[in-house]
Subunit: 290 residues, 2 copies
């Protein structure tokens, strides 16, 4: 099957599961459910669930049985976007072409929607822990990736460093934590469930996160994101430490090429798994800025 | 042992564990650890950890082995206070006589400190899940109590209803969710770990939460809280739906008396456990407004 068709198969399966979960969600007051589902169902490429499903597939595990982990992943990603968009953080009025959560529901409800999504994710994870050690370890990996050793640490450092007081070292630290941990999480979780290639999955995931963030910064700099309806609050955006500031656009493209080569090399170490899809995934991320 | 001495024993043990956990916390950047520990270590009566420890004790379980659950409880309580104090929520500049988290570290860091504390709590819970079904169920109970079926739902409803559009029904709903669930959680968790009296523990905890919130509203109305250094943003405070608005001060006191009687009655149903401390705990909560 061609890469994009396969991607679409994973994405559509996830989208179906997520819509079902949202349709069954009946948290009171209604505005809480509405604000949670508004952001959960705002589309996007569902990169993390697709990475989770395809890695399970590569390791010979039926991904259709693991939808709760995938929903938990997306809940955590979504909560981080809602809180990131708040006026006190990036102050983004739009997300994927629609008003951001706090623009639709007000700041207080947006804070609570994020809190509720994070709690809901852990509810889902805890529901899987009784199935065995691999599932418990998968849940722990996601928890670790989301918190103060992972994504939240990256967001905190992102507030701290600008183009003025930060350089390559700080940039890479922020990348690894803010983006890398939650891109690596689905790989690690799949490896925990399959019981194989734990280290390789983590190494690959972190490198893919690096590549992802590099191409994201390039896209931002060349203005593609504006077309996609993402507008970062100008003040915040101008101060941010980015790959383009550190390396220039052509330098960042060269770094992305190197990162892709490291991704392939790690995939080669997982010889008895079906890594074709992940190899094409690397190309897909690398080429999004073309 | 006298009630207050026993309370102090539980509280001091918890405080020691919490200080140790904070001393070992090394999340980067430093401001993340600092902002988390600033609020965690701001004192307070540690009601939820004490309730957890004393219920384990009553059920014959060594509470000293279960400190991680107690720390998780306090992390969740603390995160909820940090987010509740934010300008977009209650807009409180002070908490327990000290500047609130966002006044010390700024709004963005306060949002992240809350997010990090919630994630850290789940990290601790997941770390206990491998010990057996009772521990897994205890973790699930806390997760349920913290999220959109519990505390967050209460906070959301608290934003929705004022003295104008809400009455007794809405007040009791908010009480049950915003306060009750996280007061009941330590009781339920202890019952899960001990493997006994699950339903009674929940019924007692929810009623104690009701009593707690009633006396809290009375304290607020008669102004004791101001002396303790708690100042609610005036606008927010005046709009809130409270027991004193619904029942008047004397009416709320009568409701508190009735609630205490229901607490005693539930305790009587747990005949082969040592409920003396919890009985005195009810008196302690009932009498704080005197």
């Amino acid at each position: 099957m061609k890469f994009l068709d396969q991607y679409e198969e994973y994405r559509v399966y996830f989208e179906t599961c997520l819509h079902k979960a949202c349709a069954e969600m009946a948290f009171q007051p209604k505005i809480l459910t509405e604000s949670m589902c508004y952001s959960l169902l705002s589309g996007g490429k569902r990169v993390r669930p697709v990475l989770f499903f395809c890695t399970l597939d590569a390791f010979g595990v039926d991904y259709r049985d693991e939808k709760n982990f995938a929903i938990a992943l997306e809940c955590i990603h979504t909560y981080s976007l809602i809180h990131d968009d708040l006026p006190a953080m990036d102050n983004d009025d739009f997300r994927r072409g629609r008003p951001s959560n706090h623009k639709m529901f007000g700041e207080a409800n947006a804070i609570l929607a994020g809190d509720a999504l994070l709690s809901f994710a852990f509810d889902l994870l805890l529901g899987e822990c009784g199935r065995g050690n691999g599932f418990l370890r998968a849940a722990q990996s996601l928890s670790r990736a989301a918190g103060a050793l992972g994504m939240v640490a990256g967001q905190s450092a992102d507030l701290l460093y600008t183009g003025e007081n930060g350089g390559e070292k700080e940039l890479l630290w922020i990348y690894r934590h803010k983006t890398g941990c939650l891109i690596a999480a689905p790989l690690i979780m799949a490896a925990c469930i399959a019981g194989r290639y734990r280290q390789e999955a983590e190494a690959f995931g972190m490198e893919l996160g690096n590549l992802f963030q590099l191409t994201d910064d390039i896209l931002d700099a060349v203005g593609e994101k504006e077309k996609l309806g993402k507008t970062t609050g100008k003040d915040a955006a101008e101060q941010k430490l980015t790959a383009v500031k550190v390396y220039s656009v052509s330098g960042a493209r060269a770094k992305a090429q190197e990162s892709a080569l490291r991704c392939y090399a790690i995939l080669d170490r997982m010889r008895d798994a079906q890594m074709d899809f992940l190899r094409e995934f690397v190309d897909y991320v690398l080429e999004r800025d073309r």
